[in-house]
C-alpha cells in the first residue's frame, strides 16, 4: 500500500513517498515518481487512486502556474494548500478525487511549511504528517524522534528510520522510496532509497 510522509526542518521541508505503481496483485513499476514539483518552491506528494492522483496533481500544478502568469507573483504555500483543498471540497459531493496530499513549500518570509490534505478535503498545517498504512509506523517514529529545527542530516536520518520501519513491518511493503526537499534554493529531488533495482535489459 502507498505511503507518503513529510516533515519540516530548520529551513527546509522534506517529503518522502514510495515509488510503487500497483494494480490489484500486479506491480506495474517500482520507480513511479509521486512527488510533483508544483512550482519552483513547492512540492506535492500524493497517494491514492492512480488516475485521480495524476489528473488532480497536474490540474493543480497548471492552475498554480496560471495564477503566476495572471498576477505576476507566485502563490504562497498556504494559498496553494487552501486552493487544493477547495478543489477537493467542490468535487467531494459529486465526483470525489481519491487522492491524499502532503504539500510542502518554502516562502521567503514564512520559511518552510507542510500541509496535510486528505481525500475528503480536510487541510491541516503540521510539522510532520503521513498517509497510508505506512503512516502507522512513520508517525510513531516521527513522534518519538522529531524535534523542531532539525538539520538536513538529522531529518534524513529520521526519514530513513521511518522507511526502515515501513519496510520491515508492513506486510506488502513498497521496496523503493523517493525523497524530495524544498528550501530557499527551490524544490528538488534529494535521494532515492532502493531495495529493488530494475534489472538491466539485455541487449538484443
Amino acid at each position: 500500500m502507498e505511503s507518503v510522509f513529510g516533515l519540516v526542518g530548520k529551513d527546509f521541508a522534506i517529503v518522502a513517498a514510495d515509488t510503487s505503481a500497483v494494480h490489484s496483485i500486479l506491480v506495474h513499476k517500482t520507480n513511479e515518481d509521486k512527488i510533483m514539483l508544483l512550482d519552483s518552491h513547492k512540492l506535492m506528494g500524493a497517494s491514492g487512486e492512480t488516475g485521480d492522483r495524476a489528473q488532480f496533481t497536474e490540474y493543480i500544478q497548471k492552475n498554480v502556474a496560471l495564477y503566476q502568469f495572471r498576477n505576476g507573483i507566485p502563490l504562497t504555500t498556504a494559498a496553494a494548500a487552501n486552493y487544493t483543498r477547495g478543489e477537493l471540497a467542490t468535487a467531494l459531493r459529486k465526483n470525489p478525487y481519491q487522492v491524499n496530499i502532503i504539500l510542502a513549500g518554502y516562502d521567503k518570509e514564512i520559511g518552510p511549511s507542510i500541509y496535510y490534505i486528505d481525500y475528503i478535503a480536510s487541510c491541516h498545517k503540521l510539522d510532520k504528517a503521513a498517509f497510508g498504512y505506512g503512516s502507522y509506523f512513520a508517525l510513531a517514529m516521527m513522534d518519538r524522534h522529531y524535534r523542531r529545527d532539525m538539520t538536513i542530516e538529522e531529518a534524513i536520518e529520521l526519514v530513513d528510520k521511518c522507511i526502515i520501519e515501513i519496510r520491515s513491518r508492513l506486510v506488502v511493503a513498497p521496496p523503493n522510496f523517493i525523497i524530495k526537499i524544498v528550501d530557499k534554493d527551490g524544490a528538488r529531488e534529494y535521494a532515492w532509497r532502493q531495495s529493488i533495482k530494475d534489472s538491466p535489459v539485455p541487449a538484443a
Partner: protein, 250 residues
C-alpha cells in the same frame, strides 16, 4: 453605407465588414509597437504615452508573458487586450495539461486569431479592437518566431513588424534597415525603429527581450536610456561621416 455597419454580421454590397475596418482604425490610434526577430533573440518595444505624474507606471505593463516562452505586445483597446491575454494564458496551461507539451508560437497565435475571428461572425458583439505581436521560441526546435494578428482574425509570421500609431513609417524603416541580427544588435534595431516615431528617452518606451535561456526580460529605464544614447551617438557619427569627409583627413 451607414446601413451596413450596425450589426457586423452583415456584409456591405461591396464586400466590406465595416465593423472590422473600424476596429482596425482603433488599432491605428493605439500606441506604436514594434517586434524584431533575431537569430537567438526576439525584441518587443512599445511606445509609452506620457504617464500622468500620480500614476504608478509599474501597474501599466504593455508587454506581457503568456507562458515561460511566449510573450505578447499589442496596440489598440487595452481593456480588450486584458480579455484576450487572459484567455490565451488559460489556453497555454490547458494545452500543457492535456497535450503535456508547451504550446508552439504558431498554435497560440492561431488560437488568439481564432478568438478574434469568432467575434466578427457572431450576433450582438463587436470585434476586439487590437492587433497583437506575439513572440516566442519553439519549445522543441528552439527557433524564434514573431507573429502578428489583427481584428479580422488573420495572422502571419514576420521577421520584423510594427502595429499601432505610425506603423507604416516604422515598417518602411524596418524594410530598409532589416538584416539578420542577434543579441544586442536585434535590440538596437527594434529601438531604432521605434525611435523613428517616438520621442527618444527611457521613459517613453517599454522594451522587453526574449531569449531561449532566460525567457522574457523587461529592460529597466536606465538600460533603455543607455542603449538610446548609444544609438544617438552612432547616428551622430554617421551624420558627421556623411557631412565632412575632409575633416577626417589629418
Amino acid at each position: 453605407m451607414a446601413r451596413y455597419d450596425r450589426a457586423i454580421t452583415v456584409f456591405s454590397p461591396d464586400g466590406h465588414l465595416f465593423q472590422v475596418e473600424y476596429a482596425l482604425e482603433a488599432v491605428r490610434k493605439g500606441n506604436a509597437a514594434v517586434g524584431v526577430r533575431g537569430s537567438d533573440t526576439i525584441v518587443l518595444a512599445v511606445e509609452k504615452k506620457s504617464t500622468p505624474k500620480l500614476q504608478d507606471s509599474r501597474s501599466v505593463r504593455k508587454i506581457v508573458n503568456l507562458d515561460d516562452h511566449i510573450a505578447l505586445a499589442c496596440a489598440g483597446l487595452k481593456a480588450d487586450a486584458r480579455v484576450l491575454i487572459n484567455r490565451a494564458r488559460i489556453e497555454c496551461q490547458s494545452h500543457r495539461l492535456t497535450i503535456e507539451d508547451p504550446v508552439t508560437v504558431e498554435y497560440i497565435t492561431r488560437y488568439i486569431a481564432g478568438l478574434q475571428q469568432k467575434y466578427t461572425q457572431s450576433g450582438g458583439v463587436r470585434p476586439f479592437g487590437l492587433s497583437t505581436l506575439i513572440i516566442g521560441f519553439d519549445p522543441h526546435t528552439g527557433t524564434p518566431s514573431l507573429y502578428q494578428t489583427d481584428p479580422s482574425g488573420t495572422f502571419s509570421a514576420w521577421k520584423a513588424n510594427a502595429t499601432g500609431r505610425n506603423s507604416n513609417s516604422i515598417r518602411e524603416f524596418l524594410e530598409k534597415n532589416y538584416k539578420e541580427t542577434s543579441g544586442q544588435e536585434t535590440l538596437k534595431l527594434a529601438i531604432r525603429a521605434l525611435l523613428e516615431v517616438v520621442e527618444s528617452g527611457g521613459k517613453n518606451i517599454e522594451v522587453a527581450v526574449m531569449t531561449k535561456e532566460h525567457g522574457l526580460k523587461q529592460l529597466e529605464e536606465a538600460e533603455i536610456d543607455a542603449i538610446v544614447a548609444e544609438i544617438e551617438a552612432e547616428k551622430a557619427a554617421a551624420e558627421a561621416a556623411k557631412k565632412g569627409p575632409s575633416t577626417k583627413e589629418t
